[in-house]
């Protein structure tokens, strides 16, 4: 993928991919193009060259909504809930494109995040940061996506909530969903990753399994702080 927001390209021919039931993590320093890569995959940024493929299908020129309909869900880093809507309505919005009965999925989300069941009639804007993150996560799961994309899911939450979120991410992987995430917290994210991509100024620097990257002395030195 190559592209940017006019002017200089932010992405310079980088490649990321993820398979069903896998967790892929994109790490890298600030300005490496991690979030930009996510936006490109979601169709929120026009690529100059390169392509986005989903289950063997070319989706490079589909609109964001069309990609959502194909089975991609995204949890943005910030502003990721509808603050003036209740927790339940947030989840319903996640299932907006579904025509079938989605009550079962709501139950599954409540099982995954019991606190949401408790607060289902509260406005999402009144919840704590960690709880909001859970609402955002739950909303994304409501569409029963094939690929779940997370942009720094643990940014700004406490270490306890962070551990809990990583637990949930692992649980979601069990159900066969492909998970692609950008994470600031590289060490912990790579430890649960099947695949890791280290991006530097829009290019792939290292690509390997999570464990291998964690063990790689160069990755360690440059990106994991020794």
């Amino acid at each position: 993928m190559t592209g940017g927001y006019g002017g200089a390209d932010i992405l310079k021919g980088c490649t990321v991919d993820v398979d069903e039931g896998e967790i892929a993590v994109i790490v890298g320093p600030n300005g490496a193009g991690k979030s930009t890569a996510m936006r490109a995959m979601l169709g929120m940024l026009e690529l100059k060259s390169g392509s986005v493929r989903f289950r063997g299908k070319e989706i490079t020129h589909l609109s964001t909504q069309a990609r959502i309909a194909e089975g991609i869900a995204f949890v943005p880093q910030t502003n990721n809930v509808f603050v003036n809507m209740t927790v339940l309505e947030n989840l319903e919005m996640g299932a907006f494109l579904r025509q079938d009965d989605f009550r079962e999925t709501i139950e599954q989300v409540f099982e995954l995040f019991p606190i949401l069941a408790e607060k289902q009639n509260q406005l999402a804007g009144e919840l704590s940061g960690g709880q909001r993150q859970q609402v955002a996560f739950g909303r994304a799961l409501m569409s029963q996506p094939r690929v779940l994309m997370l942009d720094e899911p643990t940014a700004g939450v406490s270490p306890i909530v962070m551990d809990d979120l990583f637990e949930r991410i692992l649980e979601v992987r069990q159900s066969g969903v492909a998970i692609l995430m950008v994470e600031q917290n590289a060490r912990q994210a790579l430890s649960i990753a099947d695949k890791g991509f280290v991006l530097v100024i829009g290019e792939n620097r290292h690509t390997d399994t999570g464990a291998a990257l964690l063990a790689d002395p160069e990755v360690k030195r440059s990106f994991l702080g020794g």
Binding site: I68, F82, V83, M93
Partner: protein
């Protein structure tokens, strides 16, 4: 005994000159402010053309009313304009959709800042104002027919034996009744239906709504349809209650904007609340209380002047004053809305 009657007379005066007209005028402003708040909440700009949209819808309703009258069709005791209202709404939906297609759509595509759209809407305002004046003329038009009063002051006096009469006009009763129906339907739509929820989601967080698969074109379409309904109904009710004059509708922009901002722009409940606060403030400040005090105070303390805080000529100053005050003290409005 004398004092109790005096007290009741004073009370009837206030009912007749403040409460009843306030409820009617407040409902009209509230419906107008709801339209402004819907555009602001979903399309994200301050729509200065709203007053003239109301004038356009009312004009079509009046023209169809005249036609119906010429055909000998009437609505019995109720104004014929109610029969013509659907036609007015359809015409307003059409002109708003055409305007969106020709004007707003382009600015939405290029993601114009809200301030630019505000200026664009002023252009639309002048256009729409011109069309209305061109077709129906700048003069006052009366189109109320059917029964005039629900309770006539004379009958009220005869019934109660009081000095002061209470009159409730059909147009006032209709205004409140239709406003309640319309607002009820709007809230039901926004809270309970799938499309309504999508619109709230879009207003709340546009990016996330798109990521949930909400179709923005559809949201825009339905917003204009709702705005057309609100504007035409508000304009027609105002015209029935007072009279129709294109320039008056342009002036209504101020109290309607004041109401929307006072309540918290983008917040529908706030718009309604704001509408009533503005309407009652205007009436309370411009009413001449002399007669009320004559009833309540002993003869020796009888006021010599009108006991009017502000001449009715200055009624728009009230809205303006409230508007400035809100923007200075609490720009998000009473109920938390966006900052305009």
């Amino acid at each position: 005994m004398e004092t109790i009657t005096d007290f009741i007379n004073a009370f009837v005066l206030l009912l007749n000159f403040i409460l009843v007209p306030g409820l009617a005028y407040g409902s009209q402003i509230a419906l107008g402010a709801l339209g402004i708040t819907m555009v602001y909440g979903i399309l994200r700009f301050a729509n200065f053309a709203h007053g003239d949209t109301m004038a356009f819808g009312t004009m079509v309703t009046i023209l169809v009313t005249w036609w119906l009258q010429s055909q000998g069709i009437s609505f019995g005791l109720l104004p014929t304009a109610l029969l013509a209202l659907p036609a007015g709404i359809v015409a307003t939906v059409m002109i708003l959709l055409i305007t969106d297609k020709l004007v707003y759509q382009h600015y939405r595509r290029v993601k114009t800042p809200a301030v630019t759209l505000l200026i664009v809407s002023m252009g639309v305002m002048f256009m729409m104002n011109g069309i209305v004046r061109f077709i129906i003329g700048p003069n006052d038009q009366r189109f109320l027919d059917g029964e005039k009063f629900i309770i006539h002051a004379r009958n009220f006096k005869a019934m109660t034996g009081l000095n002061e009469g209470l009159s409730i006009k059909v147009s006032q009763g209709l205004t409140v009744f239709i406003a309640i129906l319309l607002v009820g339907a709007l809230f039901w739509f926004l809270q309970k239906t799938r499309t309504g929820k999508a619109m709230r989601a879009f207003s709340d967080n546009e990016d996330l709504a798109l990521l949930s698969g909400v179709n923005p074109d559809r949201v825009v379409l339905i917003t204009w349809i709702i705005v057309a309904i609100l504007a035409t109904v508000a304009g027609t009710l105002y015209g029935l209650d007072k009279s129709f004059k294109p320039f008056t509708y342009l002036q209504l922009l101020l109290p309607m904007f004041a109401a929307a901002i006072l309540g918290g722009v983008g917040n529908p409940i706030g718009a309604i609340l704001g509408g009533f606060v503005i309407a009652f403030s205007e009436l309370i400040v411009t009413y001449a209380y002399k007669k009320v005090f004559v009833y309540l105070l002993p003869v020796s303390l009888e006021p010599s002047n009108l006991m009017q805080l502000l001449s009715t000529d200055y009624k728009f100053a009230v809205s303006f004053f409230i508007l400035v005050l809100v923007l200075l003290i609490k720009p998000t409005g009473i109920l938390k809305g966006n900052v305009i």
